[in-house]
């Protein structure tokens, strides 16, 4: 695995058609950091992380990946384009994590096969390798995508609302996996809505609403003032009232 280096953003502006989705965001994802991206709907969170993997052209500004290629950054998009009706087994989907190393034609080695089984076991789906993906629940399917992501062995991992469509147990298990990635020194960036989860688990937060409202240690980023500023009024209010209740 390539070691993670910092990802520097300088005045990054991204457009959807004529509309600015992200306006002049500057800052840094430190190597090995665990960062949450928080903001209201339409704040440009997904657009920003798509730009980090090179899938979204920059309208202005610069992204410096510090010697890493865009392909060293793995993205798990929200509501993946993956066709769940496709007649393919879980193990084969997970094995796609080896794509960059195998290309289109090289065969899968016995060691890689057992790595696929290990990854499936690690996400709580041992013995599911032969199952068609069409038979999985939403939660199990998300676990398969996590297993594929593990095999990509990228120094930087980006996840777009990975827990939004899954049950609580799955969310807990997947969060534990995110933590192990962080412990191994991989840079992890997660787009999230659940502010309590962000405060509990994520040391760093980028709060954005087109612009970066705040970017830094979570406690300093997620103040009532900043949340108001980001347009997350109800969330700010909810936090305040909870604190009053306590």
């Amino acid at each position: 695995m390539v070691t993670a280096s910092a990802i520097q953003l300088e005045g990054v502006t991204l457009r959807h058609g004529l509309r600015d989705a992200v306006r002049s965001v500057s800052g840094c994802f430190a190597p090995g950091g665990l960062t949450a991206i928080v903001g209201p709907n339409g704040a440009g969170k997904s657009t920003l992380i798509r730009a980090l993997v090179g899938l979204q052209p920059l309208a202005a500004g610069r992204i410096d990946r510090g010697g890493m290629a865009a392909g060293d950054i793995a993205l798990l998009p929200q509501g993946s384009e993956l066709d769940r009706d496709f007649p393919i087994a879980c193990a084969d989907v997970v094995a796609l994590g080896f794509t960059r190393r195998l290309g289109s034609f090289r065969g899968i080695s016995a060691r890689q096969r057992s790595a696929v089984d290990d990854a499936l076991a690690a996400v709580g789906l041992p013995d599911h390798g032969g199952r068609p993906i069409g038979h999985l629940s939403a939660g199990q399917f998300q676990r398969v995508l996590f297993a594929r992501m593990m095999l990509r062995d990228c120094p930087v991992l980006l996840l777009d609302e990975p827990f939004s469509a899954v049950d609580t147990t799955t969310a807990c298990d997947l969060l534990a996996i995110v933590k192990t990635w962080h412990q191994r020194g991989q840079t992890v960036v997660v787009v999230l809505h659940d502010l309590d989860l962000v405060r509990d688990v994520f040391p760093e937060t980028l709060l954005m609403a087109q612009k970066a409202i705040a970017w830094g240690p979570t406690a300093q980023a997620l103040t009532d003032h900043n949340l108001h500023h980001a347009g997350l009024f109800h969330m700010a209010w909810a936090c305040t009232s909870r604190r009053h209740a306590a």
Partner: protein, 281 residues
């Protein structure tokens, strides 16, 4: 019984037609399975109408030569495939309506060119004729199969990746665009190679119907491809027999047989007789 099932194939032209259709039955359905999986079934319609102007132009320029008509068909098919791809990428219109627009225009152009010529039988061009499968046509069909199968084998992994998860393929640099183009070219080849025996309007039937029916037979991709080929072979044999005995063109006869096999597959799966179909689990 012998007269019903085997007797017709003692005739040379029936044997030729059978050999040609079997070649198509091996090459087309695997492509059809991918078209179905990629929700591109309509694309096959676009292509079968799209090749007609090219075939008609070929016939107008060089007479009823298989080479001229085939080449014209391939060029027209590729042009239509590229146009359809470009339209769906670069305009905000609904893809299906644009495809419908393209094939209506292509069909009208083709029929216009044909009617301007004297001595070309439109029915043969549209619905095929087993009598016109000569050596050249047979070599063309066999040649296309010989090209399609190895290329499909080489394309196998990129094609599955691009069909399964285009976003992931783009992110990992899987070359999805190129494999898609080569795949469409193979479909065009198959559509054109079928037109002599089956006619331009029917040749896609032998590609698509077995592929659609195959979804009821297997949960795995390779299983679906095997069943689609088996169904297409059955449809070719029995379709030609039907065509011989009740004297209808081979194209509609084979396509109707394939259609009947589809309904049988559907009924067998719904009745729980096929144990591993899609609705079983």
């Amino acid at each position: 019984m012998y007269d019903l099932l085997l007797g017709p194939f003692e005739l040379g032209f029936m044997r030729r037609a059978l050999a040609g259709c079997l070649a198509l039955a091996v090459a087309g359905p695997p492509l059809g399975v991918f078209l179905v999986l990629r929700r591109m079934s309509l694309m096959s319609d676009v292509l079968q109408h799209g090749v007609l102007p090219g075939i008609a132009l070929g016939a107008a320029v060089a007479g009823l030569s298989v080479w001229a008509m085939g080449l014209g068909g391939i060029l027209a098919g590729l042009a239509v495939a590229l146009l359809a791809g470009w339209l769906s990428r670069n305009t905000n219109g609904r893809e299906d309506s644009q495809f419908a627009g393209i094939y209506l225009i292509a069909l009208a152009i083709g029929v216009t060119i044909v009617s301007l010529q004297r001595g070309i039988d439109l029915t043969h061009l549209l619905f095929g004729s087993v009598l016109s499968v000569d050596d050249t046509a047979l070599y063309c069909m066999a040649g296309v199969t010989t090209i399609v199968l190895p290329v499909l084998a080489v394309l196998w992994r990129p094609l599955i990746m691009e069909s399964l998860d285009p976003g992931f393929t783009a992110a990992t640099g899987g070359g999805g665009g190129l494999s898609h183009l080569v795949f469409l070219a193979l479909v065009v080849l198959c559509v054109v190679s079928g037109f002599v025996a089956l006619g331009t309007l029917m040749s896609v039937g032998l590609m698509m119907l077995p592929a659609i029916a195959a979804r009821h037979w297997s949960l795995s991709l390779s299983g679906q491809i095997r069943s689609s080929v088996a169904l297409a072979v059955l449809a070719s044999v029995f379709g030609l027999l039907v065509s011989y005995h009740i004297e209808i063109p081979a194209g509609p006869a084979i396509v109707l047989t394939a259609g009947a096999l589809w309904f049988v597959s559907l009924a067998l799966e719904q009745g729980g007789i096929i144990p591993f179909g899609r609705s079983a689990a």
